[in-house]
Assembly symmetry: C2
Homo-oligomer: 265 residues x 2
């Protein structure tokens, strides 16, 4: 998912100029058609394309399970999906409604959607598990290590094991690849936390709720819209997992504090 | 552009849980209409909205100068622009063509666009100036310092001065705000480098070429599509400016090596 290309490196502090080969991330375009209708065009890192297509339809609420897909064909830059579901403009309108309304803070208007996607899970994660998984996350991302240019997403179970890790130039795409990978393997996403390297936005929170992961954790920060939406959807939002600490922005009841010296200010 | 909200902080290494107020970045939605036609909806950090609208139209090639805009009205989440230019679907089609074609590596098809936007400037930047500006860039970004959640973009002149700094949740938006700010002040963008915190993608390179900044420098990495497009457009692409060094991916002739001990491998 990367190529080696010649570049000029300038080291100002050491007073050196040299030419060398460096690894550069590749991107490709994938146009998706569902039941002959144009669904969208996506710029993404060219791997896990089938997982991406399935995961995107799932995380955007177009399909509810693998059963809703009859056939997928991917050739070059086009993916054709046959689905039993009717994919109409309504779905796109709904998606936009959610993105925009949660930004504007008008969660009330979204009652129907929140009712449908509200997460419910008694999964508990140890605080130490969350810290530990982020300590080694970048080491497990080969394209990031080669290029420094990708976001990562993965699933984390209660024992602290990472599964379904995906990388992509786009943080939404990485989540979709994970979702599709998990769906193809029949995982119960209700028992996993979604872990990310990218920022937590309303769109990411909604994707997590739609695929059913009750906890989202990231290196990065959430926006206010993401926090509002996570609260409304019953989702645990954890951010800024760095240097042995993290913040919990909503529904902290799923985080088990597994250290003895506890202090509340 | 941020609010303070109560969160739960968990410090695993110190064995502490506490509630505190933290600064969270705000986002808003802005729907832009040009000559009564819907142009697009954008999620962005709610400041510099007028700059953003003007800059986006400029960086996307819809307008060529401020003269092409007769009137702008922004109220709540809607911006209405009256322009002497006819903004048709053609423009969107062209934009897509460029994004997608350069990703696929088919620069040949883009000859007309490359001819129109090819950059030409004899600006020279000292290597030490590039290193120095990134050393303090985050300190000059108040929303980033408060929230850790924004990208920054700015203009850098040959003397090493930073101008028009803008922040936004979206890296494209930050560039558009800078472009609009510069246009309103009548700056000759041909004499500035565009500096960024975010990744260098084909879309960013194309925006730089359209607004006329001949050099783009970032903390982050470029994609292969960005490098190909920068080479074709005659634009100097600098990335990974970190720890006293950086890489030059295209047209290094605009970088002046201002240290004496030079070594070429």
């Amino acid at each position: 998912m990367y190529v080696s290309t010649k570049i000029v490196g300038v080291n100002v502090t050491r007073g050196k100029v040299r030419e060398f080969f460096d690894n550069i991330a590749l991107e490709t375009i994938l146009k998706i058609y569902v039941n002959e209708s144009y669904y969208g065009a996506f710029l993404l890192t060219p791997d896990m394309l089938k997982e991406f297509v399935i995961g995107n339809l799932f995380s955007e609420g177009v399909i509810d399970s693998l059963k809703d897909i009859q056939k997928i064909e991917i050739s070059k830059d086009i993916a054709r999906v046959e689905s039993t579901r009717i994919v109409s403009e309504l779905l796109k309108a709904k998606r936009n409604l959610v993105e925009f309304s949660c930004v504007a803070g008008d969660i009330g208007e979204l009652a129907a959607i929140i009712g449908r996607y509200r997460v419910s899970s008694d999964i508990m994660l140890n605080a130490s598990t969350i810290v530990e998984v982020f300590r080694t996350l970048h080491e497990r991302m080969p394209v990031f290590r080669a290029t420094g240019c990708t976001h990562g997403a993965a699933l984390l179970d209660e024992r602290g094991e990472i599964d379904c890790l995906a990388e992509d130039l786009g943080r939404h795409n990485a989540v979709d690849k994970v979702a599709g990978f998990a769906l193809l393997r029949g995982l119960n996403l209700n028992r996993y936390a979604l872990i990310l390297t990218g920022r937590e936005t309303p769109q990411i929170v909604l994707k997590a709720a739609r695929i059913g992961t009750p906890i989202v954790c990231s290196f990065s920060a959430p926006t206010l819209g993401a926090i509002k939406l996570a609260k409304a959807l019953g989702l645990t939002l954890v951010g800024f997992v760095r240097g042995g600490r993290f913040n919990v922005y909503s529904h902290p009841e799923r985080i088990r504090i597994d250290f003895t010296s506890r202090q509340s200010l």
